[in-house]
Amino acid sequence: MKILIKNGHVIDPANGIDAVTDIFIENGVISEIGEDKDLTGVEMEIIDATGKIVAPGLVDMHVHLREPGQEYKEDIETGTRAAVCGGVTSVACMPNTNPVCDNAAVVSYIKQKAAEAGYANVFPIGAVSKGQEGKILAEMGEMAFAGAVAVSDDGHPVENSGLMRRAMEYSEMFDIVVISHCEDMALGEGDMNEGAVATAMGLRGISRAAEEVMAARDIIVAEAIGGRVHIAHISTKGSVELIRQAKRRGVRVTCETCPHYFALTEEACMGFNTNAKMNPPLRTAEDVAAIKEGLRDGTIDCIVTDHAPHHADEKDCEFGLAKNGIVGLETSLGLGIKCLVNEGVLTMGGLIEKMAVNPSRILGIAKGSLSVGQTADVIIFDPRSKWTVDIKKLHSKGKNSPYDGFELYGKPEYVLVGGEIIINQGELMK
């Protein structure tokens, strides 16, 4: 099978390409970039990408696919289908499943289920500690050999600083990074961001300090031992500043934020809107500005969704009882274009770096580029084309999105995974 993507605006930051050109795909692999190829008589599918952007498929390194164990919220098939619909061709999934992904068997199971589903590429993240209990290191080496690309106790902070140190040291032997969910539980007990909005609604506030204390600790531990750490879903001005300073000192720290931390503020919770309840919580306009500045100046490496599908019953309830988290795979590109590219925070190439190139580098996976010889994971979208979010139509089992009715840009019109056209002219083909 041969595919020619003609005349698109190719943005491939990994190779420094930002130009109108053609991409030729043979047997699922990118075989040539350029316009001078003589293709007379070659049987192939031609995609006309005139006026559209052609970019590497997005890589989302923080996703909850819920399988095994919580298939009523999401499963690998529905989660990866939602991913592809959002232009995300590779996801790294968090290990807080049931059973916890803390051994090679669960890693292999997830990879096998993902292969059967045949949508996005799935890269499992193993647990830092057995059962995510924060006590004993999980079998990181075995998990890495089975295909785990990182370790994290996401959902549960690693409270024991000694264990975090050991995790950084041990994981390094297998070239996998520790992703740290930063939350000091004693400071973090609450429903939403601490401040006047929470106070006015009678909700318990979560201090910024809950996140920043642990981010600071992880930076200090990494610096002291020369280790490496990736800080998950940062939400505060203080976290941005801590990481900015650490990077200047040469600490081996990277970090990610999520679209909701630059698209929304705590005011989204007003009216007890449980679809705006998440952890870390939505913060203030001042934090949003700092997150954008962190993205602009390179302090923040990646944009991830923290896609956290929940059942309707887990959100249609009292705010204090509602589960944390929102779905995000189908809205992340649109929010990135709307809030970052259109507002001049990032160029389109900069957005692709945060959403494809940098996550691939941090995880050490051969994704996020359109290099010749690479598996063809490609997305094509028109960043000027407007679409309206309808949460009832999301492909994820979870409809818990705060973006219902939002006007976004650039819904993917073509999505290729491994050279297979999964979305064709906006239609899901399988």
Binding site: M201, G202, L203
Partner: protein
């Protein structure tokens, strides 16, 4: 269109004044009438759904309903399907389906009545939701203040105690500031929520500054389990720095009144001499409570506020 009373945050000054005005009329029935029975809610059904323990608020709503000839029933969380793990939504829909006109609800979670009101056709009265609001308490406080001071506008009201966890203080702040009172809050910094000053109040960690020249001094209940959670060192130390006693009360205006939503921990929020003293209007608050709840339920059924 049905009407609810979810909080004073949602009401205008005009609506609050309308309720207080009707409550003043209702109070004549509660304290003056030979026979406490009017027909305003005849044939209507009021259900009290209480997910938290309550003696006075529940009884107050029940009597208010009965004085107006409504059918009144009570459900508390123990001994009902609530204890069997039924969701709030399912419980409320069940009650709604039995022909309830007014659902009075107390719940430990902020926003629970707001969520419910969207799902059922009965009018919802918030009888206290988590740390958010307790609107009828603030209304009865305001009615009592008017009875003693003639007006709310220009009054200086000092509210002392556990501000963080108090739904009473939030409703009072919304109601009193809308009607033009000056509100100060005082208490330990560990029981003071961040950003409270943005609700339009002055904040003091020194009780003397909070009380000075007050027309109204209101104590708030200190839940003794907060001390076990480490929010203040001891009840003894609380009273030493924040308890309202006779000497501190002298800092308020000479004709100041002392209020408390009850039940009082004697010798913690207020000294016994203050509770039983001539400035105390605590038992009058209880009477105002029945009148306010009669007014609220009557207005909900007959076109709103």
């Amino acid at each position: 269109m049905k009407h609810d009373l979810l909080g004073l945050k949602e009401l205008s000054a005009e609506q609050i004044k309308n309720i207080l005005s009707e409550a003043a009329d209702m109070k004549k029935i509660v304290v003056g009438a030979k026979e406490k029975k009017i027909k305003n809610l005849q044939g209507k059904t009021v259900v009290n759904l209480f997910y938290e323990n309550s003696t006075r608020t529940r009884l107050s709503f029940e009597l208010a309903a009965k004085y107006m000839s409504a059918n009144a029933a009570n459900i508390s969380s123990s001994g009902s399907s609530v204890a069997k793990g039924e969701t709030l939504t399912d419980t409320a829909e069940t009650i709604n389906a039995m022909g309830t006109d007014i659902l009075v609800m107390r719940h430990s979670m902020s926003g629970a009545p707001h969520m419910l009101s969207k799902l059922i056709s009965a009018s919802v009265v918030n009888a206290g939701d988590g740390m958010n609001e307790h609107p009828t308490q603030a209304l009865l406080d305001m009615l009592t203040m008017i009875e003693h001071k003639g007006h709310i506008e220009g009054l200086k009201v000092a509210i002392i105690g556990d501000i963080y966890h108090s739904r009473v203080v939030r409703s009072n702040i919304y109601g009193l500031t809308k009607l033009g009172a000056e509100v100060t809050v005082g208490g330990p910094s560990t029981l003071m929520p961040m950003g409270i000053e943005e609700l339009g109040v002055k904040v003091f960690n020194n009780i003397h500054e909070a009380i000075v020249d007050a027309d109204v001094v209101m104590g708030l209940r200190i839940q003794l389990e907060r001390q076990k959670k480490g929010l203040f060192p001891s009840v003894r130390e609380y009273f030493r720095f924040f308890g309202v006693d006779d000497s501190r009360l002298k800092l308020a205006k000479p004709d100041a009144i002392v209020m408390h939503p009850g039940p009082v921990n004697r010798g913690v929020e207020l000294s016994t001499t203050v509770i039983d003293g001539e400035k105390s209007v605590i038992t009058q608050q209880v009477t105002s409570g029945v009148a306010v709840r009669m007014a609220v339920m009557d207005m909900l059924i007959h076109g709103g506020f």
